[in-house]
Symmetry: C2
Subunit: 235 residues, 2 copies
């Protein structure tokens, strides 16, 4: 018999609400603005290069993405990008930052089922200011016992947070759409890692499924989570 | 006799390490780059306008500041800013994000004196990613019992944090260089608010000194803090 679960951590972007979709839309807009200077896939790959290069300085989030778009626009045009295009990139970034939050199917009902029975913790990377805005707008805030916005999701991060908000990693579960950030490091910390794929996942968040790990689970969608949790707690 | 202090909160930027100075240097560089398009004080005031306008979307930090500089450069030149200037603004932002951290006089010795005797909490606004970098670089990390990076410093923020990390706001003290963010809201929450002025403080952080508040104290520098704490604990 496993020790019962005390804490369930949820990723936010593309687990509870849409996120990557807006990045892709904005990237499409970006490639359209610069269509005279390259094929869309070339422009996208130049942009990804800039994002990778800047990740150590900018971290995650829309502001860094906007700065990387501006940098790429200057690069691919060899400095001939019209300022009107830069203004449109700035405006696209502001639109992303003010876009209404769209919660994903089953997010609310699943949190409502689990809330009160487990300690429910939102664990998300990214920009503090923007994540707090999205949480407030999502209307899901009251369903969480704690919110942790972190700069990196490592095994140490999960160990620390599941100790702070429960009985430690062995009695905790992390749920998210990123194998690399949500699932693999949580399993490494000794927790359950539950992968809920999203059709869009950022290129930098890919990793192989840890299929041989006994605490790895993959669900088709969040609506299957409550049954999984119950099955684990009865085993 | 007052109840003894349990927790001391410290602001970070311009309380423990230099920050505003680098913003001012970068702003000077910005006005030099655009010298053909206006007097420095006009360019600075246009930039501050952009920062104010964007604060609700960008929050605090260097990335938002960089985006506001780019926006202002386009505006004040009526779209004629050369892309080389925008590249230099981007580079200036990256330099700020990678600048070595310079701790302020008395910061380390004061934290060493108080650490272990009180719960010491870093409470800072701004960009999560950048603040974590600065804390790591400062070498002061081990002197804190907890680090809280928040999007806004309100009386509710202090009430919540001083309850989480101690015996509540009445037995806590907040120390910082911003009357508006560090001192006034902490006093409103029922804590001690200790003002340690820095010669440079951002225009948006100004407020009047709450001179009639019994729990307001003003120090010339951080080196006076340990004696103040002792005096309060003996009173």
């Amino acid at each position: 018999m496993s020790p019962s679960l005390s804490t369930i951590g949820f990723d936010a972007d593309d687990t509870l609400w849409q996120n990557e979709y807006y990045f892709r839309l904005t990237e499409e807009h970006f490639t359209t603005l610069l269509a005279d200077h390259g094929e869309p896939h070339i422009l996208s790959s130049r942009l990804l290069e800039a994002e990778r290069r800047n990740l150590q300085l900018y971290g995650y989030g829309i502001k860094g993405f906007t700065l990387s778009m501006i940098e790429t626009a200057i690069e691919v045009t060899e400095g001939r990008v019209p300022t009107a295009v830069i203004q449109r990139i700035l405006a696209a970034g502001r639109e992303m930052l003010s876009h209404p939050v769209e919660t994903l199917p089953h997010a609310r009902e699943t949190l409502e089922k689990l809330s009160g029975r487990y300690r429910i913790v939102l664990i998300t990377k990214g920009d503090l200011f923007d994540q707090e805005r999205k949480l407030a707008q999502s209307g899901l805030g009251d369903l969480f016992d704690a919110v942790e916005i972190v700069s990196e999701k490592s095994p140490q991060t999960y160990d620390r947070l599941f100790t702070r908000h429960g009985e430690g990693p062995a009695r905790s579960m992390m749920v998210g759409n990123s194998l690399k950030s949500d699932v693999v490091p949580a399993i490494e910390a000794g927790s359950w890692g539950v992968y809920v794929p999203h059709e869009l996942t950022w290129a930098m968040e890919h990793a192989d499924e840890p299929v041989t790990a006994s605490r790895f689970k993959r669900l088709a969608h969040l609506g299957e989570l409550a049954d999984l949790v119950e099955a684990i707690d009865r085993s």
